[in-house]
């Protein structure tokens, strides 16, 4: 034993034990595994969450200094990105402006026109601000971030964003920072709206950029109830100068003091931006992920024959994913921080680790014998695959190790991850997946048990026998490979894929759901993008509807005409005349430019409710937080500055409060502002109007809803027809066409058709005969076995030299007869070698018969002695229609044909006795023909002997050696035996039974058929077989086919003729001529319909009563190998592997079925519409009406090379077919009810 084998054994044993362990304690092991997964993943908590959101870090303003590039040791919680100067400093000037007091004469435009206009003066102020101290004069120009050019491709922004110079952004940019343009603009909102992108937008819009606050907080709209306009002037500085900023802040505060402002200004926030993934990078990433999912899909699709396919697939994916997580966690634990982009390498890691092992494990476990205990199955499956798993893992580790030595850091890191991932994956496979698999298998067995119990009850109770191997229907056959290929028979019955898709759609109502979801999303998009301004309109309507709902007074839109009602109590008018507070003294020489002094001051006194109140809250402190996190990156990106992996510092905002007087607002008005007061609603019918509007909105909504429902209904009807494949007329018909197995009243369930293998013969089976209850088979070794067709038990074994072995010495005479060696047989063989092969199958098999005799010792079965001798007579018989039996038995029973007969005339007269006496004591003759009636087996040997055996006892009852030429075909009808010989002669024998009791027992229902039932021969009877008549030269050439039915015996021969004899008096009635080749197949049934097929490929239908030819068709290229008739049609198979179905009355070919090359020529008809054909290792069931393949039943695993040559259809809808050295008994249980 080499080291390798020892290792292999040890590994196998270890895996076996491990499998036992896993299957025995599933729950503790799963708990343990989960715990270890969680433990290993714990270090991942410390890793930053993946994502592109910005990270913030706050420092104080006072002691701020630009961080150095070098990391200065450990500086507390200072993040590692906080190094070096930021890209820019952001200084925002937050302006809140309002016209106060509000005057009823003002129009809504006044809410924002004059406050926005104030931005220009503020801008001027900021631009011209200089600070001079000892270190020099600094102005904004020296400090601000100078931008050079807009990003190419942003031409539309060109007019709005500053193109060069300081990056200073304010709402004034809409009007190129020119007051004149602003004053001339008739519609401000339109100008602002003009630059908004259409449709769905998630990133920062231009409006957000310029206003510096989210759009809904700006208050620039007609429906601003607070009448406070908020905007920012954003100054982007490239360097930080605390003193300049301090002076600017002081100056602005001085100019526009914010009374109740308590904003903190001692913190600056540094915002670090992650790298963003652009679409260009996303596409390859998405591609790899798509490939990954395809890989996972194709892998898990192969999981088969488990209880829950999806569960196992999920377990497999979980195994791989958690192994990856574990590997990352472990690497982090040991200080290896991942530098690779996790999202990018993840698919490759999964592909490297792979799902293969998991699938191999599943296959291996599933293919273990089902009758084992679950524990043992798991263990066995594991140990079967242990070697390959270990080998694969070692190979992969080696490859990765090689990768580690490439010395490329990225690849090394990848390899490290992969190694740890592989190991943890192995661990998880062994513990997690195996356990899950064991649970699944156990569940499957339970479910299987429940499902199969009723089915088993219908079958005869299985008898334990050493010779019988029942193939258990659920397919796990003990072959360790490819579970996918094991069950092609079952796959054939699966629904077509498109049908499955349709069913899936119908079952889950996927179409409707998708439509509904789509509609909801669509509506959502509609509402969100708000193309028609419905939202604002509705909001306005609602606000008008509820004047009492808002006590703040802002809800009173003055133009609605309800305002006068409240005006009396409105103190605004009284307060409006309040003089502005004392003008702020302009600080000397701090401002170079001229600016209008604050004409409107804050109202330090208690603000009356109607006065627009400017409040400063905590939310204003860091107003930029309300912006999209892509606000700053997009602003900078317009100037081709990336913020990825860099940071900006946001300085505390400078609050500016501006109060404007109504007079100023009126002054700044554009002439068009007043021309169309926006909601031109007549004041008189305000209430009615609003009511009407509400009703209109409601009606519109209702109509839209109804329309939507109708639309959905229509879509539903179009996409999902109402009848989901149940009893629809046209629809159902089509679907049934796709689904043949469900159609014809029987749907053979997958598990019900299972071949029962009858094993015992050591060589290929040569002859088959059956009478419904018993089955006799003879193999090339000459051994005859008798089987019970119900149970498949082997009842009797008749060895070739049976009497010689002598279990019963009482048959001395028989012994001598049997021992008579045959001389003709070998002669025939030799001649056969030289002659042309009539049948393909016989030519190669014959030489083996004599060249290498098989070891016959295993054939001697002493077990039959234990069988009760009366067993066969006792089973209840239900009146067999023997005519039907004969036809069934015959139609596929191909007489073992002689290979050739060179001189039929000369050999025809050879005396039989001479052959017997010449016999030397060696050798034996082979059985060429076999028939079974009652419990008598008639065996025709190549020596010309006709033997009658007791099927139950296996004893030789009678021997007739009258003929000298080998018996090529036998027919056993009633008590007559017809034997066709090689020399063309036809012998009629009569079986006579001399009962000691003088009684002839009859079996079966006498009134059943026209043919007298077959007698039951008991063992006490003395049976003699008399040659009643011998028709010498019945044919000129060897007789190839012999059929008997309805009192006729029909023979077909090589001499192109068919002869019809009467059974009673062996009188030749007709000689039918019409074929231009040797006759190869004959069919005759009770209705006297005779069909014959020849080597010329022609099929003739004859009338037996008149001997006339009814029809003559050419159907095959080559021999007709088999013929069967049903009431309506004739089925023929030929050497060209074609099965043709002809209309029996007209002789028109209905259709043909192309079979596999080299398919067996065997045919059988089970019922009027069910045809069975033999193939390579399988039998196929066809629907005769439509030519549909119903099912293919595979007889064994080693199906290649062994075709089904003979096929017998029994009465109980069982099919016997030979299959190499085995017989296969296939029950077609669901057809039973079709037979009457």
């Amino acid at each position: 034993m080499t080291l390798r084998e020892r290792l292999r054994e040890k590994i196998s044993a270890a895996f076996y034990r491990h499998g036992l362990l896993c299957a025995s304690y599933p729950v503790p092991i799963i708990l343990f595994t989960s715990a270890s997964i969680l433990t290993c993943c714990y270090p991942l908590l410390r890793l930053p969450l993946p994502g592109t959101g910005p990270v913030e870090f706050t420092t104080g303003v006072r002691d701020y200094s630009v961080p150095s590039h070098e990391p200065q040791g450990d500086l507390g919680e200072r993040p590692d990105w906080y190094r070096g100067p930021p890209v820019a400093y952001i200084q925002q000037v937050l302006v809140k402006a309002s016209v106060s007091p509000w005057d009823s004469s003002l129009v809504p435009v006044d809410v924002f026109r004059s406050p926005l206009g104030r931005a220009f003066s503020l801008l001027e102020e900021i631009r011209n601000h200089v600070h001079s101290d000892g270190s020099g004069v600094r102005s904004l120009e020296t400090l601000c971030l100078q931008v050079t050019d807009l990003f190419p491709g942003l031409r539309r922004m060109q007019s709005v964003l500053p193109e060069h110079g300081c990056l200073l952004v304010s709402p004034g940019n809409y009007w190129q920072n020119q007051r004149e343009l602003f004053d001339l603009d008739p519609d401000l909102l339109k100008t602002i709206q003009k630059h908004e992108p259409k449709g769905l937008h998630t990133s920062a819009t231009l409006r957000d950029l310029l206003f510096g606050v989210p759009g809904k907080y700006t208050g620039v709209s007609h429906y601003n109830r607070k009448r406070v306009v908020t905007y920012t002037i954003t100054v982007v500085l490239s360097s930080y100068d605390a003193r300049f900023l301090g002076s600017l802040r002081g100056r602005l505060k001085q100019l526009h003091p914010s009374a109740n402002c308590s904003l903190r200004d001692d913190h600056m926030v540094h915002v670090h931006f992650k790298e963003e993934i652009g679409i260009a990078e996303l596409i390859p990433l998405v591609t790899t992920y798509i490939i990954l999912f395809a890989y996972i899909y194709f892998s898990t699709r192969k999981i088969d024959m488990v209880k829950s396919k999806w569960g196992l697939a999920l377990a497999a994916v979980v195994t791989v994913l958690s192994s990856l997580l574990m590997s990352v966690g472990l690497c982090t634990l040991f200080g290896l921080t991942p530098t690779l982009n996790g999202g990018e390498i993840f698919p490759y890691l999964v592909v490297v680790i792979g799902l293969e092992n998991v699938l191999v494990l599943t296959k291996s476990v599933v293919s273990t014998p089902v009758d084992l205990e679950v524990k043992l199955r798991i263990a066995q499956g594991l140990s079967n695959e242990s070697w390959s798993i270990m080998k694969n893992m070692a190979t992969e580790l080696c490859i990765i190790l090689i990768g580690y030595f490439t010395l490329v850091p990225a690849i090394q890191e990848f390899c490290l991850f992969a190694v740890v991932g592989l190991v943890s994956d192995f661990f998880l496979q062994m513990f997690f997946f195996t356990t899950v698999l064991s649970i699944d298998i156990r569940r499957m067995e339970l479910a299987d048990l429940n499902r199969r119990l009723p089915a088993e009850a219908g079958l005869p109770p299985p008898k334990p026998g050493p010779l019988r191997i029942r193939e258990v229907p659920p397919p796990p056959r003990p072959s360790p490979h490819t579970i996918t290929l094991q069950t092609p028979a079952f796959r054939n019955l699966r629904l077509p894929k498109r049908l499955r898709v349709v069913y899936f759609l119908a079952r889950t109502r996927l179409a409707q759901r998708i439509i509904m979801v789509g509609t909801v999303i669509w509506i959502g998009i509609l509402v969100y993008t708000d193309p028609a301004g419905i939202r604002t309109y509705l909001a306005a309507q609602v606000s008008e509807q509820s004047p009492l709902g808002d006590p703040g007074g802002g809800g009173l839109a003055p133009h609605l005409g309800v305002a006068p009602v409240f005006r009396g109590g409105d103190p605004t008018s009284a307060l409006s005349i309040h003089p502005p507070p004392d003008p702020t003294p302009v600080p000397e020489n701090q401002s170079q430019g001229h600016h209008g002094a604050a004409q409107a001051g804050p109202l330090p006194q208690a603000s009356p409710p109607a006065v627009p109140q400017i409040t400063w809250g905590a939310e204003d402190e860091e107003g930029w937080r309300r912006l999209s996190f892509r606000h700053w990156p997009s602003l900078f990106s317009y100037y081709n500055i990336t913020l990825a992996k860099r940071y900006i510092s946001i300085l505390p905002v400078i609050p500016v409060t501006v109060h404007l007087s109504p007079q100023e607002a009126i002054e700044t008005r554009h002439p068009q502002d007043t021309r169309h007061p926006p909601p031109s609603i007549p004041k008189v019918s305000a209430d009615l109007q609003t009511d009407l509007t509400l009703y209109k909105v409601a009606a519109l909504g209702l109509a839209a809803g109804v329309l939507l429902v109708l639309l959905l209904f229509c879509l539903y009807r179009v996409l999902c027809p109402r009848n989901y494949g149940q009893n629809g007329v046209a629809h159902g018909r089509r679907r049934r066409g796709d689904l043949p197995c469900d159609d014809y009243g029987y749907s053979p369930p997958v598990s019900e058709i299972s071949p029962l293998l009858l094993r015992g013969h050591s060589m290929d089976i040569e002859c088959l005969a059956s009478d419904g209850m018993l089955l006799a088979s003879c193999c090339l070794a000459g051994q005859i076995r008798v089987w019970d067709t119900q149970t498949g038990d082997c009842l009797t074994v008749i060895p070739n030299e049976g009497p010689m072995c002598g279990w019963d010495g009482g048959y001395g005479a028989a012994e001598s007869g049997l021992l008579g060696p045959e001389t003709l047989g070998p002669a025939c063989e030799e001649e056969g070698g030289g002659g042309y092969p009539l049948r393909r199958r016989t030519a190669p098999t014959w030489p083996t018969l004599f060249n290498d005799q098989p070891d016959l010792t295993p054939l001697i079965d002493t077990n039959f002695a234990s069988q009760p001798p009366s067993h066969l007579c006792t089973p209840p018989r239900h009146g067999f229609d023997f005519g039907g039996l004969v036809e069934r038995a015959y139609m596929e029973h191909e007489a073992p044909s002689p290979s050739a007969y060179p001189s039929p005339s000369s050999a025809s007269s050879s005396p039989a006795s001479a052959a017997g006496t010449q016999a030397a004591a060696d050798g034996e003759s082979s059985v060429w023909a076999l028939e079974l009636r009652g419990n008598l087996i008639a065996a025709g040997r190549s020596s010309g002997k006709l033997e009658l055996w007791d099927a139950v006892e296996g004893s030789l009852r009678c021997v007739n050696e009258d003929g000298g030429s080998g018996i090529t075909a036998l027919a056993f009808l009633n008590n007559r035996i017809v034997a066709a010989r090689l020399n063309g002669s036809l012998d009629f024998f009569t079986v006579e039974i001399n009962k000691p009791l003088g009684l002839l027992q009859y079996r079966g229902a006498p009134g059943r058929g026209s043919v007298p039932p077959s007698p039951c021969y008991s063992s006490e009877d003395v049976i003699s077989c008399q040659l009643t008549r011998s028709v010498q030269c019945a044919h000129q050439k060897p007789i190839t086919v012999l059929r008997a039915a309805a009192g006729r015996v029909v023979t077909g021969s090589q001499d192109h003729t068919v002869r019809v004899y009467r059974l009673e008096d062996s009188c030749c009635l007709f000689t039918l001529q019409g074929h231009s080749g040797g006759i190869t197949a004959i069919y005759i049934d009770q209705t006297m319909v005779l069909a014959s097929g020849g080597q010329d490929g022609a099929i003739c239908l004859w009338d037996v009563l008149t001997g006339s030819r009814v029809s003559h068709v050419y159907g095959h290229r080559g021999d007709v190998t088999s013929l069967v008739c049903t009431i309506s049609c004739v089925i023929s198979s030929g050497l060209d592997d074609l099965i043709c179905i002809w209309d029996r009355s007209t002789g028109i070919k209905l259709y043909s079925i192309q079979q596999e090359v080299g398919c067996g020529a065997s045919l059988g008809v089970i019922s009027e519409s069910l045809l069975v054909t033999g193939g390579q290792g399988c039998v196929s069931f066809w629907d005769l009406n439509f030519g549909d393949l119903l099912q293919t039943v595979y007889l064994g695993q080693s199906s290649d090379g062994q075709g089904v040559r003979q096929l017998l259809v029994l009465d109980n809808a069982a099919i016997i077919c030979d299959f190499g050295s085995e017989l296969s008994l296939v029950y077609v249980p669901s057809v039973l009810e079709k037979l009457d």
């Binding site: 990003f151 790899t288 990018e344 159609d743 192309q1154 030519g1187």
Partner: protein
Amino acid sequence: MSLTLTAMSNSAVTRGQQQRSGSGQMPQPSQGPYISVITNRTTNLAIRGAMLFSVGVFLALVLNLLQVQRNVTLFPPDVISSIFSSAWWVPPCCGTASAMIGLLYPRIDSCLGEPHKFKREWSSVMRCVAVFVGINHASAKVDFANNVQLSLTLAALSVGLWWTFDRSRSGFGLGVSIALLATLATQLLVYNGVFQYTSPDFLYIRSWLPCIFFAGVITMGNIGRQLALYEYKFVQEKTHQD
């Protein structure tokens, strides 16, 4: 193969007869028009070619994007234009080449009479494609110390790809020869000034190009074989059913 052919033609005839004889009955379960299209040899060839072509074009676009990506800024001016940043004729060329290779592989297998049995599953093919993309990814993204290292690593990876997913001598030979031919063609193109590389390292071309070509040939051959296998399997299954 000829047997299959005759079987197919026969079955085509038979099908016609059956459908005629069916006279308005339901068609054969497994032999609808779709199936007959699949079974038809030339149509099948065309379908396979088209699939391979599209796969090739897609991979060419994506991989080109991978190569271009290094120079892409955070906000590319136009994603579409960066997808099609290479010359217009490159993706069709790649598609045609992949279609030819994908059809050539099963043909050579059948000519040599040694059908490829190794790992004939779609999951394996997907794995192969993923590894191929990964090789491209590595060549585009990973910073190697020098070009020799890059080329050697890629060569090892390519041979590993062949060993893992192909392991047939014919595949190796074909891969090497096609890779050499393609490199030669690229070389000629570069010499003629049709295009050039940003940083050629070996005789005006990139030295890793043959490795990429080889891996691509193996991958496309794998896909082509799998597609051909489908046809083969289908024909087998059908004859089985008949």
